[in-house]
Amino acid sequence: MVAALPYPTKRDEAWRYAPHKVLAALTFDDSVSEGAVATESLSGQIPALDGPRIVLVGGVVDVSLSRLDALPTGLTLITFEQARSETPELLEAHFAHDDEHPLDTFAALNQAFGEHGAVIDVADGQTIDTPIQIVDLALADVSGNASSSGVVIRLGARASATVVETRLGEGESGGSNVRTTTTIGDNANLRHIVLQDMASTQVHLGSAKARLGAASILEVHLFNLGARYGRFGYDVVLAGDGATAELNGLYFGAGDQILDQQINAVHDAPNCTSRQSFRGILDNESTGVFNGGIDVRPGADGTDAEQSNNNLLLSDRAEANTQPRLEILADEVACKHGATVGQLDADALYYMRTRGIPTEDARRLLIQGFADQAVDALEDEVLRNWILERLRDDG
């Protein structure tokens, strides 16, 4: 199966800006855990959330770092291994071969090798107030291994939950290849927050597929910050009447980072709403990519879809690439898209300096202000602070 898939090249629109030599040097062997990670070192790096969590280290679940006791009523939080023996049906969607929405090469590699992962299952009608955290920590690996792991999220009808995925890595090489499969029941409500902050020498390949039931709501906040090549593909299929998907993202690149977002909203049922709002800040020689698709299938009448991508270039060597793709095959459809690429507002800098604020502080305020419009939407203060601190370190 894997061997049959062609390796992506610059000719593939979705892989046009990827560093192909860096990707070619990666290996995708079975996951290995090469050493323990101290709890203290981990807690300094991830958002200080209480509540349940599963931590994967080098692609393998580390039970000692996870918090699986005293789970709230209605929440099942187990490893892939447990699911295989107890509730294999929960893994079906993740390992299924879907000809209509095929996986790309790296996601297919993940499907072949990513035997470890976390399963989140919320029973019908249950509301889980505490954010559920999944942490994926990629270890240094001399063979350049990109550890494969997976996350499965299933919300029953009328269920509600917040899932925070934090993806980190240490070391000079390798990285991680993480795939998330989400199924949201009718009238259910999921907030899915992804924080990617790998070492700037590593590669992160993230992909997520979500299927939304009728009148359900998916709210995504994607923060693509770390890695030499940080890629995130998020595909949403609005499969039930009246579903809503809000996909928000922020990418902040420096050095020679390439931060690549491949976003798709597929309207496959009538009266669904999708919003894509992505902001990029690019310094030095970094590259940002936003490839955003709105795909309105026949019969998806009454679709309301919008997309925006705004980029702030902090250096004349930084690059923002934005590509909207709209395919509309239904009636009574409202679709909007817009993109901007700009620099720090010289008038605003001058204005702030006349108010006594030194240039460097003024720059930082303006950058934070631009980012804030993406960060603001996060209700959880712990997460907001984690992001703002990370942005301060960078700005």
Binding site: D347, A348, T354, G356, I357, L365, D372
Partner: protein, 261 residues
């Protein structure tokens, strides 16, 4: 207090200020009036320190040479310019911006910084002055503000920054009569023995509310006439034509023979 002598400013080789002289003492309000294109805004920007001008001459505040300073250093020296077109800064909270401004100036001067709680009291007082509701502080700086709100925000900034010299550039432009009254009463409340002001305006209207001690007429980048507040009334009646030796778009019509005089 402010001493300006033979100030020149040019941009892209085009000279705009052509030897401006002005002396301002403490606790004085000076109005600078002039036709469009006479250099009024350029004078404000030259004092604030905007990039892009070739500047010559002298401008000192309390003996400190302003022209050698960066804009933020001029603010710390006590210069405040209220702009004709205040800039919108999306994503930056107005309250946070104000406190950052005040503390930046304090830091530069070597003073202790003001904490969030103490600053709130300062901000409240300033808000009352310009009749603004508290939600104003929690919005982004000028983002989506109406013309009147932007100008009131400038006066609010002036109030919290407590400058030595306030230069208000066409603060009256785009204001309806209520906003004009609020802005003017804010300005009047900030007049005092520690401070002086330059009020730049095209129309006499603002000077009904803010009574200047001196009025100057700026034409072609030079002050061509100075007087007391009655000069403004005279300008209102006769326009700038008496002071201009060429045609002006906004000057009243008059015979060519007179213009050539």
């Amino acid at each position: 207090m402010l001493h300006v002598e033979n100030l020149t400013a040019a941009i892209d080789g085009k000279s705009i200020l052509n030897g401006l002289d002005l002396d301002i003492g403490l606790d004085e309000v000076h109005a600078i009036m002039g036709p469009n294109g006479s250099g009024k805004s350029t004078f404000a920007h030259a004092l604030a320190g905007r990039d892009g001008y070739d500047i010559g001459g002298t401008a000192t505040l309390d003996g400190v040479d302003l022209l050698d300073l960066e804009p933020e250093e001029r603010a710390a020296a006590g210069v405040f310019v209220g702009f004709q077109y205040p800039v919108e800064i999306p994503g930056v909270n107005n309250m946070y911006f104000l406190r950052t401004a005040v503390n930046s100036v304090r830091r530069t001067r070597g003073d202790t910084e003001i904490g969030a709680r103490d600053f709130l009291a300062v901000a409240q007082k300033a808000m009352d002055l310009v009749e603004m509701k508290e939600d104003f502080l929690h919005r982004a700086v000028n983002a989506g503000f109406s013309g009147g709100e932007k100008k009131r925000n400038e006066i609010l900034q002036m109030a919290v920054m407590e400058p030595r010299l306030a230069v208000l550039d066409e603060t009256d432009s785009g204001l309806d009569i209520d906003a004009l009254r609020i802005v003017a009463s804010g300005v009047n409340a900030l007049r005092g023995p520690e401070r002086s002001m330059i009020v730049i305006t095209h129309y006499q209207r603002l000077l009904d509310y803010i009574k200047p001690d001196f009025v100057h007429v700026l034409v072609d980048g030079r002050i061509v006439e100075s007087g007391d507040h009655t000069l403004a009334l005279q300008l209102e009646k006769h326009g700038y034509a008496d002071f201009v030796n060429h045609d002006l778009d906004d000057a009243p019509e008059r015979p060519l023979s007179e213009a050539a005089r």
